[in-house]
Amino acid sequence: MKVRSSWEIQKSVIYALFLREVNVRFSAGKIGYVWVFLEPLLQILIFVSVKILLFGKRSSFDYAVFITVGFIGYNLFRHIVNNSMSAFKSNKALFAYKQVKPIDTLIARLLVEIMIMGVIALVFIIVGFYFSYDMNPENLGMILITFVWLIIFAFGFGLFVSVIGFFFTSFTKVVKLVMMPLMFISAIFYTLADLPPSAQQLLSINPLVHFMELIHASYFHSLTDQFVNYTYMLIWTAIPLYIGLRLYVRLSKAIVSQ
């Protein structure tokens, strides 16, 4: 057999795993593939209707666009973390091929999620143009940076949870439990500015709130990043990623062997 560099090997493994994930998730006869698009669409429809019914249509910005970017960010985070948590267990049998390293399965799943999000965003942009929504963002560059940051945050957090969760299953359960109300406490369909100070303080504990506020602030002229704590975001990105990687380096052989 020809000798390949470790980077070449990892590249082909990630590529193969990526195709495998796509193949499994979008194989014919599965509802999964409709659901990928239906889920965000339903979320947005429900929240937009509720808002209009309760508070009327008046707003300083387009609420449908506001909610769409929020849900795209939130879904991206949630799907990356959830899929990371199950990656080691569902790919366990593949570790019999020695080139397949556990972290490759996380990276492959991350790429699948980014791709799905890209497609969904594209679909929404086309739909938006068709119905001539005002989608012009205030600062596109900042939005993209925040999304990349959000992806790194989600990956680090997912890595951290999956390494610990592989050895302590109950840890995964706790994280899942904590993440359940996340949709309502992440400033997806409201801004902190609309809330009383006590609620603002409480919700600011959730790191995802800062990402959402930053995305919304970069999108709409009428919103500001007054509640965004960049240091707090950085801490939540760096610490889980660092601990996750350190633990992974120590425990990857044990994950392969189990």
């Binding site: 057999m1 020809k2 390949r4 070449e8 090997i9 082909s12 493994v13 590529y15 193969a16 795993l17 195709l19 495998r20 193949n23 499994v24 194989s27 049998a93 593949l94 570790f95 019999a96 091929y97 020695k98 080139q99 397949v100 052989k253 392969v256 062997s257």
Partner: protein, 220 residues
């Protein structure tokens, strides 16, 4: 050559550590087929998995520049929702085969496994015999310095057994095998040297017949 340096391997059990190997050092010379003997639970498969780098010693190291196959006959690595073809493609990709080589491998595996139309059906519709045939064909589609075989020489019906054995014999003209089996006949036929595992000790016999005798003595 495969070199084991102070290899210790144990599993933790509720009653303390159970040692499979305790500070074992030895080397397997170039170009021999190795049979691995030992009673159930003696650590044969673990030794094989360690040689294949999918399990690791607790202490010490195993050094070799050779390439090793995955434990042959392994069907756990198949994804049930995917077709046989897609699963074979996946393994080809992780081994870095290019498009042409993948096509060749697909042809070979389809032909060898005799799956016919099932080759394009999800693996979850396969019988266990069909899965073994696919996995056996898949292992033969790659070139390794060492084939790791864990008691999977007998798959399928009588005719298929003969066919796979013939294919394997042709294959091992160009490579070596590490074989775990309880079938003394096969071991004697294929292997040149033997390793006997017993009570966390490893005995190396440079004649397969000595290994068989030693193994018989252990079982007395």
């Amino acid at each position: 050559m495969i070199e084991l340096k102070n290899v210790t391997k144990y599993f933790r059990t509720p009653h303390g550590k159970k040692y499979l190997l305790k500070d074992v050092s030895f080397s397997i010379p170039e170009g021999v087929n190795v049979g691995i003997f030992g009673r159930n639970g003696a650590g044969k498969s673990t030794l094989m998995r360690m040689l294949g780098r999918i399990e690791f010693p607790n202490f010490g190291e195993i050094i070799s520049k050779k390439s090793f196959s995955w434990p042959m006959g392994l069907s756990g690595g198949f994804q049930g929702d995917m077709t046989g073809r897609a699963n074979v493609k996946f393994v080809c990709r992780i081994y870095g085969k290019d498009r042409d080589d993948i096509e060749k491998a697909l042809e070979f595996v389809k032909d060898f496994s005799e799956l016919g139309d099932y080759f394009d059906m999800p693996i979850k519709t396969y019988s266990s015999g069909m899965k073994s045939r696919l996995s056996f064909g898949l292992s033969l589609a790659f070139d390794f310095d060492y084939l790791l075989i864990d008691e999977t020489l007998s798959v399928g019906d009588k005719r298929f057994k003969k066919k796979s054995k013939d294919a394997l014999m042709r294959k091992i003209e160009r490579c070596n095998v590490l074989l775990v089996s309880h079938d003394m006949g096969t071991l004697k036929e294929i292997c040149d040297v033997g390793i006997v595992l017993n009570n966390a000790k490893l005995h190396y016999c440079d004649n397969i017949k000595d290994a068989v005798t030693m193994y018989d003595n252990i079982n007395k």
